[in-house]
């Protein structure tokens, strides 16, 4: 078809598409054609015997060497009776009119002729075709027939000798190359207007690809990647972060608790003592504390971590004082019902900058640098509140479609957080970014569920951003 289409485009042929009905014999039709119509076969018996018992037909037929199935006896009698050639009474079949019988047989023979014509692909008249279809001897299929006629232009060019035959090569083959058949042959011109077959290559998930890019960025900014468990002790998820044990974030509406297993273990009793002291009266920090009775058992309960900040404090506990910076890019969980804007599972980009000389200004510096690298434009900051940082800040960026977006929350870890972890001299700038919202802005996705889409067609068609700025 590609070739025909090309000739048509050049005005050398006219193409006409017709829908045609093509009849073909059914299994039954083919049988009747070879054995004759049932009424013909039955008619032969009647011509000889004139009258017989219906119950005896099978026997009589087989004696006469005629193949006649039970259903064919019925069909045959039906047609002979219709033309009043026979009558069936009290289980006996009787010939009533020879003239009518020969008329019926002539009709049947005509039918059979038509079947033969159809088998040979010849056209039969519509009424016969209708009768054959009614008897389910033929079936009709509609197909397109394409008529290709040379145009006047083609004929003229041919007569002028300007159309000449030549060998045309559509695709090179090893034989063609080696045999030299390509010499003097024409290479068929590739039609640039026809779309190519569609390929579905292996590819990274665009969202995970984005996260890889973020990871690269953080590494380039001197951050070491940290990891922590998704199933976390309340201790690390809340208590170490100086969130009182009845803090609303610890409510069942805001945290996934576990039915199994319910509790974990902590081997460092001294850590528990220090956390208790800080919560109850401020410990050695100079803080007033939350002034309530802290329950160590509560701290040992397991949750699905609600914030990767748990990973930051675990890192501080392990590494203590020093000059370092770490990040985590991982999943957290919150009891949300999944819809376009909310998800029970999402990614956070979390980080800490640790050092004696680290200040709030460096945190702002980090936000600016990250926003610049992600192409998010300038960052505006406002005071904010988080239970574990002071001063706390919220960084906003202006999205071309969504307006001002809160994207960079952070602050300086409170002494009540650092002291139990053994960090007494250093400052820690900390931040925890809901990277999904930034990803949605960058990837131009307006439904958070699409980041976890299970529709392969969508994943195949999703454009990958190239980070060209």
């Amino acid at each position: 078809m590609r070739d025909v289409e090309e000739l048509r485009a050049r005005g050398l042929v006219e193409v006409r598409k017709d829908l045609v009905e093509v009849a073909s014999l059914t299994e039954e039709g083919a049988r009747y054609l070879s054995l004759k119509m049932p009424e013909e076969r039955l008619g032969r018996l009647l011509e000889e015997l004139e009258e017989f018992d219906l119950a005896d037909v099978a026997r009589i037929a087989s004696e006469a060497g005629i193949e006649l199935r039970e259903d064919e006896v019925k069909v045959g009698l039906l047609h002979l009776a219709r033309l009043r050639a026979v009558r069936v009474e009290g289980g006996r079949v009787r010939l009533v009119s020879r003239a009518a019988l020969s008329k019926a047989l002539a009709e049947a023979a005509a039918m059979r002729e038509a079947l033969a014509s159809i088998k040979e692909g010849r056209v039969v008249d519509r009424s016969t075709l209708r009768a054959l279809r009614r008897r389910r001897l033929v079936s009709i299929k509609r197909t397109a027939r394409i008529l290709v006629c040379p145009t006047g232009k083609a004929c003229r060019l041919l007569s002028e000798g300007r159309l000449i035959g030549a060998r045309v090569i559509t695709a090179l083959t090893p034989e063609v190359i080696v045999s030299g058949a390509w010499r003097g042959a024409f290479f068929k011109k590739y039609d640039l207007s026809i779309p190519p077959p569609r390929l579905y290559p292996g590819r990274k998930h665009p969202y995970l690809d984005f996260l890889d890019m973020v990871r690269e960025l953080l590494v380039a900014m001197g951050f070491e990647e940290m990891k922590g468990p998704h199933v976390e002790l309340e201790l690390w998820n809340f208590d170490v972060l100086f969130q009182a044990q009845d803090h609303p974030a610890r409510d069942i509406h805001d945290t996934f608790y576990l039915k199994y297993p319910e509790r974990g273990r902590v081997d460092d009793d001294r850590l528990l003592e220090r956390v208790k002291a800080v919560h109850e009266y401020g410990g050695g920090t100079g803080s007033r504390g939350w002034r309530y009775r802290w329950d160590p058992l509560r701290a040992l309960r397991l949750v699905l971590r609600t914030q990767t900040t748990a990973v930051s404090v675990r890192t501080l506990y392990e590494r203590g004082e020093g000059e370092y910076r770490c990040f985590a890019l991982d999943r957290v969980f919150r009891p949300e019902s999944l819809d376009a804007k909310h998800s029970m599972e999402f990614y956070q980009l979390e980080g800490i900058i640790v050092g004696r000389g680290v200040t709030f200004r460096h945190l702002l510096g980090f936000f600016n640098e990250l926003a610049r690298e992600l192409g998010l434009g300038p960052v505006k900051v406002k005071p904010a509140y988080f239970p574990f940082t002071e001063p706390s800040v919220e960084g906003f960026i202006k999205h071309r479609k969504l307006g001002w977006m809160e994207v960079f929350p952070g602050g300086m870890f409170r002494p009540e957080v650092l002291w139990p972890l053994g960090v007494r001299e250093c400052n820690v700038a900390a931040w925890g970014i809901g990277i999904d919202r930034i990803a949605m802005a960058v990837l131009d996705v307006d439904d958070i569920r699409l980041l976890f889409s299970q529709d392969l067609e969508f994943l195949r068609s999703w454009k990958s951003p190239l980070w060209v700025r």
């Binding site: 579905y200 290559p201 292996g202 990274k204 998930h205 995970l208 590494v219 380039a220 900014m221 001197g222 951050f223 070491e224 998704h230 199933v231 009845d246 609303p248 069942i252 996934f256 608790y257 576990l258 039915k259 199994y260 297993p261 319910e262 974990g264 273990r265 401020g282 920090t285 803080s287 397991l302 699905l304 000059e323 370092y324 910076r325 009891p335 019902s337 029970m344 709030f360 200004r361 460096h362 702002l364 510096g365 600016n368 640098e369 505006k380 900051v381 005071p383 509140y385 002071e390 009540e416 400052n427 980041l451 976890f452 889409s453 299970q454 529709d455 392969l456 067609e457 994943l459 195949r460």
Partner: protein, 551 residues
């Protein structure tokens, strides 16, 4: 965070000068309040949880006066002792504190603000009334002393707010909307908490509902505020915020002595005395602020501040500022006074190399190879269901991390293997062209008894087409292993999700690092699929451990 609504005209009245909307919109963020919208004359804003004194117009106006320099430094409250009260309340809600506020001038908006403050305090500090609950009453309707008692649910009745007739205490729990909502806090006890006056008039049934009898109206001039609680500290804080806020519309605060089971005098209005060494501001915030500047910022924020030594301020913290626990909290106040927008960002060049986590680095290399093998990466939630992990896979259940308070049936536990969700993707992508070749690199969580939880990074591949066999997935696994240079062995194994005799363990260094197989036809049908599926799952954690040992 609580969302509050105030009228600009009310704020103007409290601040004592005209305000324009633009001004209010720029000042609110300086108090960490985020303006949600402005409609006609009212401003709707989200206050932060740590500043209950900003949950209504009174405290907000007090703070604005500072920022507008209408009034600086500490707000002094006139206080003298007023009524007496007795605490004979129930063990399960043991604390009672009271205060009175006198000389109020209220109108419809003022009453609305008092109710808003009470409601927001209930939601936040009160933990939805579990921990603390508040009642406000018209003092002229009350004959002191006030008594907090335990009452029989059936023999006492009163007319609850908004009701035409009296109900017994027990009836209130089933017939009054507030009773229905909060009844669970007391319903299981023999006796219910009750606040009555000397003549037996009921003020309220804490923490459920007040009486209509003592309702606060626009005519009310003096009020009693009660706070009942399970935590004395929280009760003190809440009462101070209530009393000081109401006092912004009145003349003086009455201090109430409660005797009985738990004796206490409230409210506490005495400022907290603390000192701020300005070197802390520089160390933490990185900005240099002179002592007089810092003192001025603090006074704008309604603290009293006095220079007492070389770069040291003595600061008086108002009693209603429940958020000031440590000098770092004052640092933030100074920075807020200085202006966040004025703090210059500073780049801090790294002193060390950055580094990807080894597991992420390894995962990324593996993903790149698998992409090269023609597989499309997918990304599934770790939260899923037993239905997906086991039932549909015809697989027996293994210990699984299960959520106690799931939101949706589809997300009740953490995945223990990756293949099921890959099959789920295939099942949801029947309209997509075949062949389908997908993979995921993700974490699974495994449990070996209480307290023994560990995570593994896994890689899973799945292939589906009209004709797919183990050979196809074997070829992919083999290519991957050759590229990363890991020798592996295969051993026949049985897996209930897979066809017997067409399933194999993948052994690395003699240890099972994964398996592969052809999905059992029944499992394919369970997922309403029709085409064959071959899949493999490998532990990248184990592979990495093996490679690290080899190295």
């Amino acid at each position: 965070m609580p969302v509050c609504e105030v009228l600009v005209s009310d704020l103007e009245r409290l601040v004592g000068r005209r305000l324009d909307l633009g001004e209010v919109e720029t000042l609110l963020p300086k108090l960490k309040c985020e303006v949600e919208y402005v409609e006609n004359e009212s401003v709707v804003y989200e206050a932060t949880h740590d500043r209950p004194d900003l949950f209504s117009a009174e405290g907000l106006a007090r703070a604005l006066k500072g920022l507008l320099r209408v009034e600086l430094g500490l707000r002094e409250f006139r206080a003298k002792s007023s009524i007496e009260a007795y605490n004979e309340g129930p063990e399960y809600r043991p604390y009672l504190l009271l205060a009175t506020v006198h000389g109020l001038r209220l109108d419809e908006e003022a009453v609305k603000q008092v109710m808003q403050l009470q409601e927001k305090l209930h939601m936040t500090y009160g933990r939805d009334r579990r921990k603390v609950s508040i009642g406000v009453y018209d003092l002229s309707r009350v004959k002191p002393p006030v008594r907090y008692i335990e009452a029989d649910p059936d023999s006492v009745s009163f007319r609850p707010l908004d009701f035409e007739h009296e109900l017994t205490l027990r009836e209130i729990l089933t017939r009054h909307p507030k009773g229905v909502q909060y009844g669970y806090l007391i319903a299981s006890y023999d006796k219910y908490p009750l606040l009555v006056d000397s003549e037996g008039t009921v003020l309220s049934m804490p923490p459920i509902i007040n009486s209509e009898e003592t309702r606060v109206t626009e005519e009310t001039r003096d009020v009693v505020i009660d706070v009942t609680a399970t935590d004395l500290e929280a009760a003190r804080g809440v009462l101070t915020v209530m009393a000081t806020s109401l006092a912004e519309r009145g003349e003086w605060i009455g201090v109430v002595r409660v005797s009985g089971k738990v004796a206490a005098t409230a409210p506490s209005l005495e400022p907290q005395r603390t000192s701020l060494d300005l070197s802390l501001v520089e160390k933490l915030a990185g900005i240099k602020v002179s002592p007089s500047e810092a003192a001025d910022y603090l006074r704008e924020m309604r603290f009293e501040a006095r220079i007492v030594g070389d770069g040291v301020l003595e600061v008086l913290v108002p009693a209603y500022r429940l958020d000031i626990l440590h000098p770092v909290d004052l640092v933030e106040e100074v920075v807020m006074g200085y202006g966040y927008e004025r703090v210059e960002a500073e780049a801090l060049p790294p002193q060390h190399m950055g580094r990807e986590h080894p597991l992420e680095k390894f995962s990324r290399r593996i993903r790149e190879i698998v992409v090269g093998l023609g597989f499309q990466e997918v990304n599934n939630y770790m939260l899923t269901s037993r239905e997906v992990l086991y039932t549909r896979m015809n697989a027996p259940e293994i210990p699984t991390v299960e959520v106690a308070n799931p939101r949706q049936e589809a997300f009740t536990c953490l995945r223990t293997w990756l293949i099921p969700q890959l099959v789920q993707v295939l099942s949801r992508s029947k309209h997509a062209e075949y062949p389908q070749r997908i993979f995921e690199c993700g974490d699974v969580v495994l449990v070996a008894g209480e307290g023994e939880v560990w995570e593994e990074r896994r890689l899973a591949l799945a292939l589906s087409d009209t004709k797919v066999t183990l050979t196809d997935i074997h070829a992919a696994v083999d290519a991957l292993m050759r590229i990363i240079g890991v020798e592996y062995e295969l051993r026949e194994r049985v897996h209930p999700s897979m066809i017997e005799g067409r399933t194999a363990s993948i052994l690395v260094g003699g240890v099972e690092a994964g398996f592969m197989g052809e999905l059992h036809p029944q499992v394919i049908l369970n997922w309403e699929l029709e085409k064959p599926v071959a899949a493999a799952e490998l532990s990248l954690t184990k592979l990495l451990e093996y490679l690290e040992e080899e190295a």
